[in-house]
């Protein structure tokens, strides 16, 4: 074997090694950035049951957790995004008072998805209603159509976003049921943060899930049930 052949072989070995060292981390990051590749299962329907009797007056832990998790400013101006809010209610006939957290109700038949011209508003197979930030043109028709006032429009340029929760100036957004956490087997931030465990998150389609078992035993309500939207978020004691 000539000296030139050995040099060539060494050169090739070094090149392949160097290429692997350079490319491998990139491939790893690429893989991580893309997350899971398998499609979401339509056998699952994620939902929540909120016990209003346990929802403490004045407590806004769920709101704070949502803001932190999703990188929202927490501002309360009419142009600020609020994905979840505490609503205080008083029955006009009886005077009974209660409070509850209100967010996207993740309808089975979401009006926001029906009206969206580009299909940016969509419902995942597992029932979570989302906005595709790349398709949203910012027409705000979904905000007009939502019966729950669940959506916010990003009125200003954004800074310091949470990489897991991309947002964009000039697009519409709302509660994602913390889809990035749910896909990792975690609970939505609000459910985890509630000190009284008033927000029960789970699979409405699984008869053995805690949420399904509880829904079988307690009286629950869908907000504006008359609209027939079959919401994924249900309330107890409303």
């Amino acid at each position: 074997m000539s000296c030139t052949d050995i040099k060539r072989r060494d050169f090739l070995k070094t090149s392949v090694g160097a290429a692997a060292v350079v490319i491998a981390p990139g491939m790893l990051l690429f893989d991580m950035a893309h997350g899971k590749t398998e499609p979401v299962s339509g056998k699952v329907r994620w939902g929540m049951l909120i016990d209003t009797a346990n929802c403490a007056d004045g407590c806004t832990e769920c709101v704070a957790a949502c803001n932190k998790e999703n990188g929202l400013s927490g501002g309360l101006a009419s142009t600020d995004a609020q994905w979840i809010r505490k609503v205080e209610l008083k029955d006009m006939r009886t005077g009974r008072e209660l409070a509850l957290p209100m967010m996207c109700q993740h309808c089975e038949h979401p009006p926001c998805v029906d009206v969206c011209p580009t299909g940016a508003s969509f419902k995942r197979a597992d029932g979570i209603v989302l906005v595709d930030k790349h398709l949203c043109i910012g027409c705000r028709y979904c905000m007009m159509a939502c019966p729950y006032k669940a959506r916010s429009f990003v009125h200003e340029p954004l800074h310091d976003q949470n990489p897991d929760v991309p947002r964009g100036k000039g697009t519409v957004e709302s509660c994602t049921m913390c889809v990035h956490r749910v896909d990792n087997g975690q609970q939505p931030a609000c459910a985890e943060a509630c000190p009284n465990k008033s927000i029960l998150f789970g699979d409405l389609n699984d008869p053995e899930s805690e949420i399904s078992r509880k829904l079988r035993t307690v009286a629950s309500t869908q907000v504006r049930a008359d609209l027939g939207l079959n919401t994924g978020v249900r309330y107890q004691g409303l």
Partner: protein, 392 residues
Amino acid sequence: MATNFSTKLRSPLYYTLVSIGALIVLAGMYAVHLMEDHGHIITGMNNQIVWGIPHIFAIFLIIAASGVLNVSSIGSVFNKPAYKARAPLAGLLSIAMLAGGLTVLMLDLGRPDRIIVAATNYNPTSVFAWNILLYSGMFAAVAIYLWTMMEKRMYPWSKPAGFMVFIWRFVLTTGTGVIFSFLVARQAFGTAILPPMFIVISFAWGMAVFHIVQSTIYSWNKISLDEYVQKRMRNLMGVFVIAGLYFVSTYHLTNLYFARQTEFEKFILLDGGVYPLLFWLGYVVIGNLIPLLLIYHPALGKTKCVIAASMLIAMGGFSLLYVLIIGGQAFPLDIFPGFEVHSTFGDGAIGAYSPSLPEILLGLGGVGISFMITAIGIRVMDFVPHEIPKTH
């Protein structure tokens, strides 16, 4: 007449007017730049009043663009020669106002740079998506119609083209009304009366815009409109105004009958501040009663009265849209019927809205575009009505 008129169009006054129009368009473009740069925070719109003044301008222009074609339809479809002579001008005005309205609508988007997404990603259940086809198709339909009227070889096709436009604009205005009809949960909207109401008011507003433009052209040309034609068109506009008022009254009376809607009607008609004021003074008195007096009073009804009536009808139109669209959003959504509600997100509270200068400039920019297209259109092509001897 044509020579005289084209000379007038080369006068300094013409160029001054076109320059003013161009300046208004430029101001609108600057407003768009500001809105792009800062976001919608510099407008008066917010998370409760999501559609504001730009939408009022856009919807007025689109509705009037459809209504103005009534003039051509009466000529082509119903064979009235006095209107036939005016059909090309009506077609030009329709294209001009449609272009102005759509530009405003498009530039008010949060991401106007993504307009191509609206063309490439199409949600078939969205009435907005249907309207993208209806609006762009309208341009094509009116352009073909104008071609059949202005090119001698195409004259035989003028009637079928006119019929196509006649059908198309009905569907288009229905589509515009349906944008609001399909809003199931809002007290102001979600009713099937809105599309026919929009069609009828489009006749009145379109006719008003036509009268204003036609009278301007005639007075510029120092000729007077044939009295017979004047009377026919004036009376027709009066009928449309009455029909519009009928639809608006029916809308409110029906709501008043429903217990769940009375609070909303009380807000719009009585104690909602600017909204009742605009409804009663802006729409009913200025937009209907005074114009009807100007049109039908035996001592009035002359050219100046008709121009004044037309301008007031247009102002009434803006008032009605402001009350319907902005008032409709200002009244809080009834998410929890039977409960008094309060939250940090405006639940149970009347939404506040005060239009800002950039959004007003954007809306005016749309009017500027319509003006420019009309002014340049009549300068470069023969859109001026050629009077045909009257036929009683």
